[in-house]
Symmetry: C2
Subunit: 291 residues, 2 copies
């Protein structure tokens, strides 16, 4: 169950308070237009994993939307609030809205002060058993906007997709384009394994440049597993050997069934499990408990 | 200039207060996911124009997103807050969010209480001179999601489009699909006139079922101007006689230039002006000042 928001420590525009107490004007553009950028970070042993990658992506996204936030200051706040939370195994939610202004579609002039939210909560694994035994997914039509490379809070298509998966008793929904190619999940990146090679969609406007996706590319190079950036077509699902999803909270999640198609032999595959192990090794190396 | 939000009367979940004082939890799903529906109504002589159409659309949209709000109660509040505002020429903004819950993509269980915002502000005409002399538009690629029939606050593509138009010194941006067909504006419906007939895109998932769009269909029938629901292609812009945009605040706005293409003879056309006149007649008939 989600934690009580009274017990979650937030930082709202530089001031720490319980998450349940953070209130924003309804003229905030995140509320009125979804005009905001976010990140979710995983903390292992008190250390945010791949922090710089998240900050770099945040910086790029803020630039794309011309939201003038100071990422260095956000990083300092995040560090302080994580320390003050006292949590070691945690997730950090970071949200930067364009700020408050009278409602007009076009960007307000002068630019308002961005509203900056950070909160730190105990990590709750969304897929503890599925990561071992494999999860199951459905395919859904990709109805999202065409700038999914921007990690904005215009997430209604993702919400509806995740709800559809949940209602079907599945773990995730995978977006399929009109040409039948598989893009990514509602909050995960998608990978397949075929004949010993890893396949994943190339980056582009329809794909979030996932931090864990980037890590998989790095891990493939390190373990000398060939990796090819090409799209997987839905018709190929019966032919591939393995399928897995990745994400900051998801880590590496084997998928053993998609709609009514069993993937490979219906069990988590060898390369997926190898990547899970390497993932743990990298986490251990980069997030050593402070003594 | 936008009005000072201190002076704007709001109704927040049934309680009236200055708009500037309305605060919402950052766990509200409109803030986190754009998980909310909205309407904008125009008030003439103290009477909301085409109220029932707006309430019907609101009801349909809430059903599409499974947000359990009581539209009858919202209508009562809207009426009371309009009366208490003392305004005759006004616009009403109505926003229903799914409500507050710990952040997960899928719909929270149990369903939270929706957060319901209404505010009433003096009407400020966005296009006073353009409605007489004609406005100018640009064409932009339609990067919106594929459920634009739902009037949600996932509006970032509309925001970016409106900003692009504004930066180009134009009045509106018109979305163009990949096949070159023109859909609608960032906050307006689109109509063309060719050989004495009005053309507009048929309703579908890529199009908002505009209240003013519906009114144009009604006015065309009343004035016996033929109206055909078919898509306009960008290549046809040089051949058409007139072009206009419609919307609740926009009313009927002649467009005399699109990108560098002059429409017709570069002046508001006869049928557009006829529709503007009929629009005023209908408003006068339906929104008679209370004496």
């Amino acid at each position: 169950m989600p934690q009580n928001s009274d017990a979650i420590l937030a930082n709202w525009n530089g001031v720490e308070m319980p998450l349940a107490d953070v209130r924003v004007s309804v003229l905030d553009r995140s509320f009125l237009f979804g005009d905001a950028i976010y990140e979710v970070l995983r903390v292992y042993s008190g250390i945010p994993f791949r922090l710089q990658d998240h900050l770099d992506r945040l910086t790029r996204n803020l630039e794309k939307l011309k939201i003038p936030a100071d990422v260095g200051r956000l990083a300092e706040r995040m560090d302080a609030t994580l320390q003050n939370s006292g949590l070691d195994e945690a997730s950090i939610y970071l949200h930067v809205s364009r700020g408050e202004a009278p409602r007009t579609h076009r960007l307000p002039v002068p630019a308002p002060r961005p509203n900056e939210l950070i909160y730190v909560q105990p990590f709750r694994d969304p897929y503890p058993t599925q990561r071992i035994h494999g999860g199951r997914a459905i395919l859904i039509r990709d109805i999202r906007w065409k700038r999914c490379d921007i990690k904005s809070v215009n997430l209604l298509a993702n919400v509806l997709g995740a709800e559809e998966a949940h209602a079907a008793g599945r773990d995730e929904a995978i977006f399929v384009e009109e040409d039948g190619s598989l893009v990514e999940g509602t909050h995960t990146s998608l990978f397949a394994v075929r004949d010993g090679s890893i396949l994943t969609s190339p980056l582009g406007p329809q794909l979030l440049p996932g931090i864990t996706r980037k890590l998989i590319l790095e891990m493939a190079a390190r373990t000398q597993i060939p990796l090819v950036e090409e799209r997987l077509h839905r018709d190929q699902l019966g032919e591939i050997d393995e399928l897995f999803l990745t994400g900051t909270s998801t880590e590496v999640l084997p998928i053993v069934e998609v709609d009514d198609i069993s993937i490979g032999d219906g069990k988590p595959g060898a390369i997926t499990q190898r990547l899970q192990a390497v993932y743990r090794e990298i986490v251990s190396a980069e997030c050593r408990p402070k003594s």
